[in-house]
Symmetry: D2
Subunit: 404 residues, 4 copies
């Protein structure tokens, strides 16, 4: 007989899966159902249940899961964490006074695979403002609500070749892309103008939580950061007025204060490393939330978003990032760095010391090392890839450490 | 019994494979070997041979090949070809006089998969100068000969945010990346300075031919284009002198005329759609030439090259390209457009009518439609992808037309 | 005996002088004083009075006046006026809606010499908003109140090399110069922050009127233009927020709305061609108002202002202007163009049709022709100049038409 | 009786005039002619000769000369010289190796008034390459030979807003102005292409010497500088090829090597402080050479040249220069700084320590102090100016030290 509790421990400790997750607890229940003793499952019944390839427990136990050697993988994450922790370069964000109060040494990392395997390490309780990390979700919200055509009628798709807050529009007097501040503010101008301010923010907060798996996904609000940013947000007001003057918000112009205010609110939305990693995992799996099992976003929208993050997410550091990490990413001046490993996982590193481009120093170093260690770069698929149109060629495992 | 000739016809007509290819002809020979009649193979023997998973004939016949439904795939290519042929926008390259003499309507397409399946259509005999398409190979040649560190000590990795021939260096007075003219000329300065001019060009021509599969890969030289470009190559001389003044070529400065001359020669190197597609296929398969079966380039170098092509290969059109096609690419002002579908194929479209960015109008349109039809974008892997670290999850075929 | 009335007529009609001007009426009174008949002056007395070289009537009648041949000069002005009137190129300012309502064909010119000779022609009753023409006076106000060091601690002195409303600061994060919008808004931030809004505007309006000779100098306010500009002034708000973000207004930041509002008010301050020409004349005479006879501005401040106008006043058209006209100038998008001929006169042309640089088309053409006709360019002094350090060399008349 | 020798001493020592100058020696001869003793002149005869206002000796002795108090003026020059000598900031030009060999401490100043008064102090025998100081003369040569229209068909008139050797053309693909390197090279392409190289350089050398007063004006050639600049002149070749590519030299393109070579030759043309000051004096007097008394250049060409020097001569330092010195000027990377005080004098300061803009540190400081001391700025004429159209108003002396 099989101890159900022992099975739960294996799922949680060895594979990072939450046994209370709807689909897993359902599968566990089925194991138990026909047994006389609710704590055990007899072997025959177990084998019968395991035949079903869609059973998440079967998949997990037979290695048909994003990261089968999850314990080893996490050990490596921790090893890199400790290495990177030694780096003490970088400065706290200097233009939002409230962010100056952050503890410089706070450092955490969290990941969530497309099969919902979760791991977090370090100062994991620490909540931080999303800042720029909200931009991809804002873009997705607009795509979901209004469609690709409507969004890109207002915003371009090219790297801006400048910093995130440059006062520049493209040759058609539109923001260069949805990842720079001009783009994000323009997205704020599109989003449910018919709602009042509270509803609009509430709608967006729900949207984020939903993507991250529902009520367990921590989405809060950092009022001091919001007020501080609002007070010192001259550059964003400059961008907004500049765009209004150029007709970005239409001939009517609209309520510029409201647009910028929503943007400040979204930037001040707070998350933990884990909750943000859950959201990122939904992007990694093409819009299907691995924790709730629901398709939350259209895959084509996620694809557009990842493409934009890949090209534009790291601003004037995008080129070096593409060479060294090679993954869609977005960083925030709070020190958050979110990367998407398509078809594998979402990962978030938080450390508030920034380099001169406004990216987390430890975050970048962590991602460089992890990407190299596991060949995560988009172009690493070549190393051990499957011909993507082939019918049944066996898959070569690529989780092997390619650099050891 | 099985007719060997019939088998050859199947391989060639149905799967685009060349039966005279060393590994295939060797496998064919083995089939024949033990049979009394060299034209037939008895069924038992055939089955015995087919057990070997590394037998290219077995793989081809069981669908374990890049594009199993090759005939259907090629039909779609032809259909798109005919649609795109209707476009007559764009102008011949106006700054190399000799290119003005090209027939405006010449149009051809060729592809080669990572398993060596080949297809070409249109004006396939037409030879054209590689122009900018030579840059990725030049970059690879330098990486292979001198290593990543040595090359990137001299050249950056960021998109330049400008046109291909802009007189600009990055903040460290280096070319922005290996794909712009400044980068390519700098690579020419590195390449075997100890050889005399003839040997140096010969070395590079061999390098190209080798990557394309050897002596069957057509690599010629267009003397009129070379002379014409040399005569009108003021911009490239300007770039070279500018770089020399900035110390790009070192404190000695070196033989600037020689660098630029090599660059003009390489730009004037002529290929057919098919021969260039063969070279591209080697990049698609991580450096292993599918026609010769030999590993010609280090995978890490190919990865760097594809990353650079993805970020910088289409210059100031790179962002829109990433959204609309999403594949590493490089174009030449002769009208060639080479794209790499990692793990699937190399593809080349040739049509000399250029848009204002200097890219082939039909080439871009062809790639847009093909990428959309078959979800070839790097970020399309999400749609039907495999968790890349999983051990044995079955591969879901993605060759299905996603848009029909 | 001399008829006083006839003398007045000569002064007014032949020399453009106002007999009611304090110094002239005083001189006239002295002529009359000792005569029995208040309408006449006997010859002996006249000669005695005329010995005094500081007597303005003596100076006027003996040609010791800015433009002795005033009638001929004005005829030439009228001739050029009629020629230039034929030009109907240019468009009304398109970004301040209220300015679109202006009559396109309104055209006037006025001048005032350093000896107070006045002439106006055309639509002389028309009042127009000063717009950019207020910038030199704003600069002078700040210099007078706070001194050169304090002003240039906040604002640079270089041409910006861009348009008047470009979102750019110089390498030290300061406005490039006092003539561009960023500079003018910064000056508004300096000016009497201790006053309330009404007093502050009142103070500046008095300052302008004083420079223009006192209560006869028309200085009004165009409320519709003010409101219109405020409504559509996004670009200026963008500039202000951008500067606030860069710390231009100090670490406190100050009341940005107030700064921009003052700027809009000053831009909407309305003048006639004549009243603006009176102000310009004070600059031409080094700060001494020719109409009131009072030193209103420090000469060193006027010198700085003229130098700035010469280098930066015409923005990205400054170079061509220097070659073709060669005089300190400032234009406003209302269609006003004010030029200073040092030591000779201030001149204003008004015509609201603008070229693509935002300058009055007729204004520029008028100035080109006048400058050429009378060799007014700063560098024309070479033609007929006096060695400026010589003690008593006779002055060679330069009023001769150099191009006839 | 008057001792002729004593008179000569007065002219030379007190007024800086050369008694052997043609017009002066002629006037001296006339004094002597009718006297019995060739060494003396009797008083009556002297008075009779002095009646002639065009007699240079009369003018000099009666103060009708550029700088009557020449001795005092020169004392002040020497005083400033010694003050400025204390400054040891700045670096030798680092991109022309030969210029690195110059003695860092060499320092000299020379001036020549529009009446031919000459003074030189410091290391006056030192010859230095003209470098950029040749540009105004090259511009004048082209204007004299081909006219304003022909020259400005090829070259613009606007400040470039960049450094002297920026690889940029204006919006019409022409050099921004004749003072930047692109402009100077373009002028070299225009100048007597029908001559062979030796004649062309000879022609230009004669042109320079002629402007400077003829055979006494030292114009040499610094062969090492020429060779050094040629060897390291990559930036200028870059400019030339860039311009050729843009069609600046016409559709034929012309002999680019020849253009650049002439430019290098002209830059390597060597002068002393005095000989360059003589040339500058001819510009100060509107084209009339004060030493030979001949009109060497059309005044309108000189006016254009001074206007260009004022706006563009100091490159990206032009604005601060206009505020602080306010005079047409041109500097060379050899350390020469030539300024023109219109209607007064040409002045040259030589000191090879350069600031980061490539201007002589001591040269700039010297000019600032001299301009302030004597109110030499173009806009200082306001302080003590004559109404320029007035007929006979007495001239107010302005040679008084305005700052003591």
């Amino acid at each position: 007989v099989l101890e159900i509790d022992a099975l739960c421990d294996i799922l949680e400790d060895q594979l990072g899966l939450d046994p209370t997750r709807p689909d897993i607890s359902r599968a566990l229940a089925m194991l138990v159902d026909e047994s006389s003793n609710s704590k055990h499952c007899d072997y025959d019944h177990f084998v019968r249940m395991m035949v079903d390839a869609s059973n998440p427990i079967q998949r997990a136990l037979t290695g048909k899961i994003a990261i089968p050697d999850f314990v080893d993988f996490c050990k490596e994450v921790v090893r890199i964490f400790h290495d990177v922790k030694k780096i003490t370069d970088g400065e706290l964000c200097n233009y939002i006074p409230e962010l100056q109060k952050t503890s410089q040494d706070s450092f955490s990392v969290a990941l969530c695979t497309i099969d919902g395997q979760q791991f977090a390490f370090g100062d994991t309780k620490h909540e931080f403002a999303m800042q720029g990390c909200v931009a991809p979700f804002l873009y997705l919200a607009a795509l979901e609500e209004y469609g690709i055509a409507a969004v890109h009628k207002m915003i371009g798709r090219e790297p801006s070749g400048g910093s995130f807050d440059a006062v520049r529009l493209n040759a058609y007097d539109k923001p260069h892309n949805p990842m720079v501040n001009t783009g994000a503010i323009t997205l704020c101008s599109m989003l449910h103008p018919e709602m009042d301010a509270a509803d609009r923010f509430g709608w967006m907060a729900s949207f984020l939580q939903d993507i991250g798996g529902g009520k367990n996904c921590r989405v809060g609000f950092n009022q001091p950061v919001y007020l501080s940013e609002k007070e010192s947000g001259d550059q964003n007001f400059a961008l907004a007025y500049y765009m209004k003057g150029k007709g970005v918000f239409g001939s009517q112009g609209g309520n510029l204060e409201q647009f910028v205010d929503l943007y400040f609110q979204l930037c001040a939305t707070s998350v933990t490393c884990s909750s943000l990693a859950s959201m990122a995992a939904t992007l990694a799996s093409g819009g299907r939330c691995p924790l709730s099992g629901k398709q939350k976003l259209k895959t084509v929208h996620v694809k557009n978003c990842l493409s934009g993050m890949y090209s534009c997410g790291m601003f004037d550091y995008s080129g070096a990032w593409a060479f060294n990490v090679g993954l869609p990413a977005k960083s925030g001046v709070s020190g958050a760095l979110m990367i998407i490993v398509p078809n594998l996982m979402g990962l978030v590193v938080y450390s508030p010391r920034l380099n001169r481009y406004g990216h987390s120093v430890r975050g970048i170093e962590f991602c460089k090392r992890l990407s190299k260690k596991f060949s995560l770069s988009v172009f690493d698929q070549i190393v051990a890839g499957t011909s993507r149109m082939s019918k049944s060629k066996e898959h070569t495992p690529s989780a092997k450490n390619t650099t050891t």
